[in-house]
């Protein structure tokens, strides 16, 4: 087991009260495996990732419970200095917007090389040679000439490749990609995803892919965790979910994808808004928006029920949902 998150809980102290961003998330990633974490904005998928990376802003954030076991040790018990050495070297993160994630006043070569300077104490000159190597690896043309250029001189796809190169520099065991293709052109999205998937295979890394794009997930993920209001509502191998969702929320997400064979129909949208995290509805958090909601949904929090050997759903009516799919 590479990464094993157990019952993680994160809250934010805000002026309007305590926002419970993550309420008991449990998931795991094996080496070479891709876990896709799906969910709307505010569902807690990025906060979980930040907690794993240890880059949560604390305060206002606070991890109130849970453990994050990574390669046999609980990261939450490490001292900050030990934690820092894990970041970048053993686990790394790819951010959504590559332009804002690169320092505008440093050349890309300097930023790529920084990985080696920070973690391996390499000289600047050697680090620069390494940077060229990395740029070649993510297939940036004319790497040698472009290593001294600044982020704004690269196209969006190229910048995301540089971010990937930075994350992969020290060949970490785990990569967390937070919506890596959202800011890119549709045509470039596929290339960047392919590149990421290929490098992942090559290095046998675990990958957590945070996204709300179900199209991206289908091609690259091994398993999916669907999050809602800081909780995992369904987790399953990727093909099972597409075949038959076992939670009404997953069902709603799948129905919201435009489809070629449904031309002329109005596109389905899940009614309502995600809940305010300072006042999550009692019972199942999804009940105000759920077409299947009964009285029990408004009072009892549904436990994660075992649907099959590697599949779980947090719905009182998962059997019915599955049957109707």
């Amino acid at each position: 087991m590479l990464l094993d998150v157990r019952d993680l809980q994160v809250e934010f102290r805000t002026r309007d009260g305590v926002a419970k961003a993550v309420n008991g998330v449990t998931y795991s990633v094996e080496p070479g495996e891709t876990l896709a974490v799906l969910g709307e904005s505010g569902s807690g998928k990025s906060v979980t990732a930040q907690a794993i990376m240890g880059i949560l802003d604390m305060p206002p954030g606070r991890i109130t419970a849970g453990e994050i076991n990574f390669r046999g040790r609980d990261l939450l018990k490490l001292r900050e200095e030990e934690r820092r050495k894990v970041r970048g070297a053993e686990m790394a993160m790819i951010f959504q917007d590559a332009l804002s994630s690169l320092n505008p006043v440093l050349s890309v070569g300097a930023q790529l090389g920084e990985m080696f300077v920070v973690h391996q104490g390499m000289s600047r000159k050697d680090a620069r040679a390494k940077a060229v190597e990395l740029m070649d690896r993510v297939r940036i043309p004319a790497a040698k000439e472009r290593v001294g250029q600044y982020p704004h001189q690269f196209s969006g796809g190229m910048r995301q490749r540089i971010m990937i190169a930075m994350a992969l520099a020290l060949e970490p065991a785990l990569i967390i990609a937070d919506e890596p293709t959202t800011a890119l052109d549709v045509t470039v999205q596929a290339q960047v995803m392919d590149l990421l998937a290929e490098l992942q295979r090559e290095l046998n890394m675990g990958l957590i892919l945070i996204t709300h794009d179900l199209g991206v997930v289908a091609d690259v993920a091994d398993k999916i965790a669907v999050m809602y209001a800081g909780r995992i509502v369904e987790s399953a191998p990727v093909h099972d979910i597409y075949k038959a969702p076992a939670h009404p929320y997953t069902r709603g997400l799948l129905d919201s994808i435009p489809r070629l064979d449904q031309k002329g129909h109005e596109l389905y949208a899940i009614k309502g808004l995600p809940p305010n995290l300072t006042a999550i509805p009692p019972g199942c958090a999804f009940n105000p928006r759920c077409p299947r909601a009964q009285d029990v949904c408004r009072t009892d929090v549904p436990p994660l029920a075992r649907v099959s050997e590697d599949r779980e759903s947090a719905c009182h009516f998962w059997k019915e949902t599955l049957r109707d799919a």
């Binding site: 993160m93 951010f95 006043v105 690269f154 796809g157 190229m158 045509t187």
Partner: protein, 305 residues
Amino acid sequence: MDLAMTEAETLQGSTGPTGAGPEAKARSLWSDAWHQLRRNPVFIVSALLIVFLVLIAIWPQLIASGDPLKCDLGKSEQGSAPGHPFGYDTQGCDVYTRTVYGARASITVGVCATVGAALLGSVLGGLAGFFGGWWDALLSRIADIFFGIPIILGGLVLLSVVTSSTVWPVVGFIVLLGWPQISRIARGSVITAKQNDYVQAARALGASNTRMLLRHVAPNAVAPVIVVATIALGTYIALEATLSFLGVGLRPPTVSWGIDISNAAQSIRNAPHMLLWPAGALSITVLAFIMLGDAVRDALDPKLR
């Protein structure tokens, strides 16, 4: 399909930089700003003036052969004469020579006070902005206290007890009252820079606090500090003159525009030339630095382009 896309991006990637024209060499914020500055007439004029002022501050002998302290009472308050174009002051000293030598005190005070205030202010403000918490609260309140001190009153009180006739007490006083302004700016721009995704990204890749602050935050936060400091330099020079005029700044035998203006004010009806030249030199110097600050701000602030 896939191949075609890869090609398309390769093309886009390789023509991206050259597509922007022949001057699309690797250009950072600073080289970009320099490029912008070089074409700004305000910058050229103010920079030439400042270079000239600095030169005569270092080597006044370049354009003035006389001695500012060698005076002939017999020529008291006389108008211009051959070799003495600006005339004489009450003590019979050559106004031209004194005006030239006065640049040294003004430039020294201005530059030293600005460097001191900028260093102190940006280090304290930068740390407060970066780490936040109680240190930030404490520092901001201390800065508020110094903000509350009226400059002239503070100068009259603090500097009247000093007996040294060097420029350092005045420099120290200006630094003491000037750093809060810089620290506020530095704190604000560090907080802004700290929130950038690339700082978070650097953190996610294992950078330490020191490295994040020095390499990612500071270079992106320093521009507003430079702008404010450049403009402040002009006002510090004026402040030195004000303090000297009031008799608590520089003292004779130091040659200063402020002292000369103060002396000239007493005989403004009989010999206005005594006031005109040092006051003019002071105005031009202050103007030059403020213009420079404006030009630097225009070059560093992309929103104004």
